[in-house]
Symmetry: C2
Amino acid sequence: MAITLRQSDADFEQRFAAFLSTKREVSADVEAVVRDIIAHVRAEGDTALIDYTRRFDRADLETLGIAVSRGDIDAAYTQADPATVEALKLARDRIRSHHQRQMPQDDRYTDAIGVELGSRWTAVESVGLYVPGGTASYPSSVLMNAMPAAVAGVGRIVMVVPASGGTINPLVLVAADLAGISEIYRIGGAQAIAALAYGTQTIQPVAKIVGPGNAYVAAAKRQVFGTVGIDMIAGPSEVLVVADGSNDPDWVAADLLAQAEHDASAQSILMTDDAAFGKAVEEAVERQLRSLSRSETAAQSWRDFGAVILVGSFGEAIPLIDRIAAEHLELAVDDAEALLGRIRNAGSVFIGRHTPEVIGDYVGGCNHVLPTARSARFSSGLSVLDFVKRTSILRLGAEQLRALGPAAIALARAEGLDAHARSVAIRLNM
Amino acid sequence: MAITLRQSDADFEQRFAAFLSTKREVSADVEAVVRDIIAHVRAEGDTALIDYTRRFDRADLETLGIAVSRGDIDAAYTQADPATVEALKLARDRIRSHHQRQMPQDDRYTDAIGVELGSRWTAVESVGLYVPGGTASYPSSVLMNAMPAAVAGVGRIVMVVPASGGTINPLVLVAADLAGISEIYRIGGAQAIAALAYGTQTIQPVAKIVGPGNAYVAAAKRQVFGTVGIDMIAGPSEVLVVADGSNDPDWVAADLLAQAEHDASAQSILMTDDAAFGKAVEEAVERQLRSLSRSETAAQSWRDFGAVILVGSFGEAIPLIDRIAAEHLELAVDDAEALLGRIRNAGSVFIGRHTPEVIGDYVGGCNHVLPTARSARFSSGLSVLDFVKRTSILRLGAEQLRALGPAAIALARAEGLDAHARSVAIRLNM
C-alpha cells in the first residue's frame, strides 16, 4: 500500500516535505575500491582489464578478445527477433529526427561600434557510452545515449558493455550497430570507465563518458570527471501521474506499475482531485500486480515509495507538482495544455490520456535519459547539447579597442590587476 | 624562465604530452572538514553561520547582520570611483546584449503521423552566486555570473560574499546592484554554500549555485550537488597566444603576463613559428615583470608553468592547439579566421592583434567564466543555457498510439518489462 497525502489535511505541508526528502537510494561507499581499480587500469592497461573481467564478469577476454568484432555483431542479428529489430529501427529514426531539431545554431555578428562577437558550436571529438550488463542491459538506452551524439556529429562513439558470463545481450549489439557504433569493448564496471578516461593499449581515451551504471560505475565517473566530461549521475526512476476522475483506473494503474517495475527504489505517484478515483487506481494496482513477471520489485517500490496525493484542485496542485519536479510527468486531465503552461519543473511531460510514459521510453522520439530525484528544478534531459560545446569569439580592430579599452583599464586597475591594464594600455600607447 | 618545446625535436611528442598532463593545482583534502561544516549549518542554521563567520572571517554578524541592507549598497556607491562605476555599467550592458542572443527557443511541432513533440525552456527558479572575499573579490565576476541568470529570467538571484574583517569590496556591492541583485548575505566558505543549498532561518534555499571559490567552497559545491545544481569547478586560468613574427613582442608579453598575474598556478603559453620572435617575447616578459605590482606571482607562474612552443607552421600546430584546448586562445596571426575554422577546442577565442584577452575579461560582452584545464574539449563557458532547463513534451492521440504502440510493446517485452508493455497494450485492448 502506497501512502496517501491529502492537501486538505492540517499536517499536509509537513508530510509532503518529509515525502519529498525521503532518500530512495542507499549509495554504497565504494570510493576506495574504485580508486584502486582506476589506478590499476592506468598502470597496467589491458592486463588489468583482463584480470578484472575474469574476476567480476566471469569472462575470459584472452579468448573472447577485448573488442567486439564485426562477426560478433552480425551473429547478434541472427539471434534477434526480426520484429524487435524493426522496432529498434523505428525508435532510432524517430529519435534521430527529433534530436536533429536540437542542433544549436552558430551566431556571428557585429555590434553598433564594430566589435565582432560570436558563438561557435563544435561536436565533442569522442564519446564513450557505458551500457550495463545483465537484466539492465537495455537496447533502448543504447539508442537514447548514442543517437544524440551521432546527431551532434561526434566523430568517434565507443561503447563498453560487460560480457557477464561471456555473453552480451544481442539486441544491445544490434542497437549499437543501428546507431552507427562500430567500436565496442566487452568490459564493464569501474575498470571500463578508467579505460575510457585514460586509455589502454587497445582503447584510445575519449573526451566524455555517458550512460547509466551501478554504484561502482557512478563513483568511477565522478572520479574521472575533469579528465573527461560526464553526464548526470541518474538516480532511480520516477513518475508523477496527474489524473482526474474521467480516466480509466486500469490505464493509470498500469502506468504507475510500469515505473515501479524498474527498481525497488523507483517511485510512482498519483495526484488526483477525486478521492474515489484514487481508491479505484489503488485497487487496480493491487489487481495488476498479481500478473506481473516483476511483481515483487513493483510491489516493493509501490509499498515503500508509492503515493496517492489528493488535491483540492489541479490549480492548487501546481506548486506541489513543481516541488516534486518529476522525471516523468503525465497530465491525464481535460485541459492538459493549460495546466502545462503553469508548470515549471519536469523532465518530460506526457500529455493526454493516450500518451503513456512508456511511449517516451521507446518510440516517441524524445529522450528517455532524464533528470531524477527533483533535479528537473535545475537540469535537463540528455540532448544534442550534451555532445557539443560552444566557443565564444571576440574580434576588435584598433578603433574598437580605443572605444572599449579605457573602461577595461579602469576595471583592471580597480581589481588590482596591473598586467591586465597594461595589456590594453600598451596597445593604446597609454 | 618558461620551458621551450620545439615541434621539430625528436622527443617533442613525449615532452608535449608530459607538459599537457602537468598538474597545476594541489587540491587540499578538505572533504571531512567541509562535511562537518555543512552538517552543522543544516542543524543549527543562522547560529552556525554566525559562529563560522566570527571564526573564519573575523566578522560579527550579530552586529553587522547576515543580510546586506539597501543602506549598505547605497554607501558602497559613495565609496566607489565614479569612472569605475561607469565602466561597470558599460560592461553590464555589453554582457546583457550579448547574452540575450543565447536564449534558446521553444520548439513545438507535429510530425508526419500526427504525434506532437516539443522542447520547452524555463528559467531555474532561484540561483545563488558565490563571490570570494579578499583580493579575489572581483566586481567583473559578479556581472559575468549574474547577468546570464538575469537574462535567463531567474526570478531570485542571491549573492553571498564573506565580509573579511567586517568589510566587503564596495565595487562588488555596486556590481551586484547594477545586475539587479538585492538579496545579499555577508557569508562565505563552505558555510555559505550549505546555507544556499539547505536554507537557514534567514536564507531561503536556492535551486542552483554558481561562482568561483577556494578549495573549501569547491568541495562544498561538490558535496551539495544533487540537492542543488552547480556550475563547473574552475581551475587556474590559462592563455594560449598563437602569434607570428609580425607582432610587437611587448604586446604579446603583456598578454602572457596578464594571465600569469592571476595566480602562481596560472599558465601562459606562447606558440609561434618564429624562434627569434619567441626569444624577443621572452625578453619582453622579463623586462615587464620588473614593473608589476604582482610581479612575484606572475614570475612564479611564468617560471613554473609558462611555455614557448615553436612550431613548423600554424597548420601543423592545429592538433596541438586542440590538445591544449585552452580556456583563452589568442590568434594574433595574419589569417586568423582561416586558422579558427580548423580549430575545434577552445573556451574563448580572441582574434587579431587588437583583441587582447583582457577585453574579454571585462567589456567584450562574452563571458569570462570559461572551461579550464583542457575541459574545453567537452564543455563550454557560462551562458544563459546554464540558467534554463528544458522540458520535453510528447502528445499522442488514440490513432498515434495505435501506430506506435506495437513497436513499444515489442521493445518492452524484449527488455523483460511486462508492466511497460501492459501500459500500452491496455489502451489498445491488446
